[in-house]
């Protein structure tokens, strides 16, 4: 069955004109989700009943003249976000029976804006992965070729949007988990500035890097949904108290005079030549739109992956200490004593990659190693951050590849953690520096999508969305749908 409309913007317009009701489109999307589940495994939990109730409520609000721009638009939530009364698993056996007693702040924000939740989307366990193969609920498949990974950790969100099972989905990005799957699935992804969207109710992985964002068909859709997700939240101690602009207002601004920086180090080695060509083509489109292009250098950026694999596991090992088999989550059978309860509950409840990261983090924080690893990494992080600050003195935003290759085969990299970690070589820098970044579709290599990454200065989301939107007015890569789901 076909989608009622291709984008959030088109759905919002159709709802406003009364061309269809939220109940009608919600039913249509729920049917698409159910039909595609065996092929893609994009969802962990469907919430049909509450979705239909929310859609009916949205229609009633509209009839009463109380509709906002996106009232009645269905969306999916990554299963890392707590949703009141709904199972929230984080892709883990540890939380396979956890029913959240509250909503994450961004879930509540999108709910009060009138969106309708269709279900909870699959993901790498605790967001640790770049292929969506580490989920306790099974791998997600790429809609462009189901033998391929969708990327990760927000693989369910990206696959679902690419196959048009949902018009848009929430996602999170700690080292590229929004942008890399968006690139591999041919959809639009935005990771806002650190602190822009509240982390309250978003299950923590690495708290100084984690940020909530969106995977959508278009930049315009992201602009419509980002507002209700953003803003100060006293419940998140790193939430930033600064005004949220109307991201839709500046989408059509001219790019005349915009200076794009091409990061030399992103093109040094390891980038697939087909992907490089697509990126260079995209840069030409920007030049046609009036942007100036100059090369910039971020010499410490090649150290971002090793820096990340000290900082992120360290924070993960601290954050995941809360899973103790006592207050919530998996508990082992007949524990002999308290230590046995902790060790077996955690040993059984966590998957292989999560245990690897906890142990990496435990080691780098342990006595005698803290200075050599953790403090050293936080110093290099400062250097990487300074590289970006210097680059933004010479240009308005950076453009380059999101991922070194298009989607790879399921199983191809799962035996070697380092090879898997290097998928995020272009995305991790923005997390280390807290910068906003996007990935937008910019073509295909071997019938698989390629993503263009845009990285901006802190709180430049409006300008980035504007740049992405103008590109999407000139190209139609973002509107391509995999044949099997057209």
């Amino acid at each position: 069955m076909s989608t009622p409309a291709p984008t959030v913007a088109a759905l919002a317009a159709g709802l406003a004109k009364g061309e269809f009701s939220s109940l009608e489109i919600t039913r249509a999307y729920l049917e698409r989700c159910a039909a595609a589940q065996p092929a893609l495994n994009a969802f962990v939990t469907m919430t049909n009943e509450s979705a239909l109730a929310a859609a009916a409520a949205a229609d009633a609000a509209r009839a009463a003249g109380r509709a906002a721009a996106i009232t009645g638009v269905p969306i999916g939530h990554k299963d890392i976000f707590c949703t009141e009364g709904v199972r929230t698993t984080c892709g883990s056996k540890m939380l396979s029976n956890f029913v959240s007693p509250y909503d994450a702040t961004i879930v509540a924000g999108l709910k009060s804006a009138g969106t309708v939740m269709l279900g909870k989307l699959n993901m790498d366990e605790f967001a640790m992965g770049s292929s969506n193969e580490t989920s306790y609920f099974g791998a997600v498949r790429n809609p462009w070729n189901t033998a391929m990974v969708p990327g990760g950790s927000s693989g369910g969100s990206a696959a679902a949007v690419a196959a048009r099972l949902v018009p848009a989905a929430t996602a999170t990005d700690t080292g590229g988990s929004i942008r890399q799957p968006a690139a591999l699935c041919g959809v639009t992804g935005i990771k806002p500035t650190y602190g822009r969207c509240s982390r309250y109710g978003m299950i923590a992985f690495a708290s100084s890097l984690d940020q909530a964002g969106l995977i959508t068909v278009s930049a315009e859709d992201a602009a419509l949904l980002l507002g209700p997700m953003s803003g100060f939240d006293p419940r998140d101690s790193t939430s930033v108290d600064s005004p949220v602009p109307d991201y839709t207002r500046t989408l059509n601004d001219s790019l005349e005079g915009l200076t794009l920086g091409i990061v030399k180090e992103f093109f040094d080695k390891g980038l697939d030549s087909g992907c490089e060509q697509r990126i260079r083509d995209a840069i030409k489109v920007y030049e046609k739109l009036g942007a100036k292009v100059r090369e910039v250098s971020c010499p410490n950026l090649p150290l971002s992956v090793p820096t990340y694999y000290v900082v992120a596991p360290a924070e993960c090992s601290s954050n995941l200490a809360r899973f103790d088999g006592v207050r919530f989550g998996h508990r082992c059978d007949s524990p002999k004593n308290l230590t046995d309860l902790y060790c077996r509950s955690r040993g059984e409840g966590f998957g292989a990659e999560v245990k690897r990261r906890i142990m990496t983090g435990t080691y780098v924080l342990s006595a005698g190693y803290y200075d050599a690893y953790y403090l050293k990494a936080q110093r290099v992080r400062q250097l990487i951050s300074a590289d970006f600050a210097r680059a933004f003195g010479e240009c308005d935003m950076l453009v380059g590849p999101t991922s070194p290759t298009p989607a790879f085969r399921i199983g191809a990299k799962s035996d070697d953690p380092i090879t898997m970690y290097l998928n995020d070589i272009y995305t991790i820098g923005a997390n280390l520096a807290g910068l906003p970044a996007m990935s937008i579709p910019c073509g295909f290599v071997d019938e698989l999508p390629v993503g263009l990454q845009i990285i901006g200065p802190h709180f430049s989301e409006a300008r980035m969305l504007n740049a992405a939107h103008r590109y999407q007015q000139e190209t139609d890569w973002h509107l391509r749908v995999p044949a099997a789901f057209a």
């Binding site: 029913v99 007693p101 509250y102 500035t193 650190y194 602190g195 100084s208 890097l209 006293p234 101690s237 790193t238 930033v240 410490n300 150290l303 090793p306 820096t307 694999y309 000290v310 090992s317 006592v326 207050r327 919530f328 989550g329 508990r331 524990p335 004593n337 308290l338 046995d340 902790y342 060790c343 955690r346 040993g347 059984e348 966590f350 292989a352 245990k355 690897r356 906890i358 142990m359 990496t360 435990t362 080691y363 342990s366 690893y373 403090l375 990494a377 936080q378 110093r379 290099v380 992080r381 400062q382 250097l383 951050s385 600050a389 070697d416 953690p417 380092i418 280390l432 807290g434 802190h458």
Partner: protein
């Protein structure tokens, strides 16, 4: 850098993770490779560089007033607990 079986057993103990016999050699291998990889950081000139403590420049952790703002949610929270009795979380006997 190469880790030993004893290193992995010690890290797992610190992390309160029980590993199976089959998992130990896998982690000996992969953690050794990870630490060899992050060893690249040694090359970075970081003398005099202050470790980054907040991802946004100039911002520090916000403090809040020491006031009670939360309501009692014990019943809601304990619905997810593996074992409770009379509002208390049950664990194996700690003191013999």
């Amino acid at each position: 850098m190469s880790l030993t079986r004893a290193d992995i057993e010690n890290i797992a103990r610190l992390a309160r993770l029980e590993l199976t016999e089959a998992e130990i050699p896998v982690y000996v291998d992969s953690l050794s490779r990870i630490f060899a990889f992050v060893g690249e950081l040694d090359r970075a000139p970081t003398a005099g560089i202050v470790p980054m403590a907040h991802p946004l420049p100039g911002l520090a952790q916000r403090l809040r007033a020491d006031e009670v703002t939360e309501t009692d949610c014990r019943e809601d929270f304990q619905r997810n607990a593996p074992k409770v009795e009379a509002g208390l979380y049950l664990v194996p006997k700690v003191i013999e």
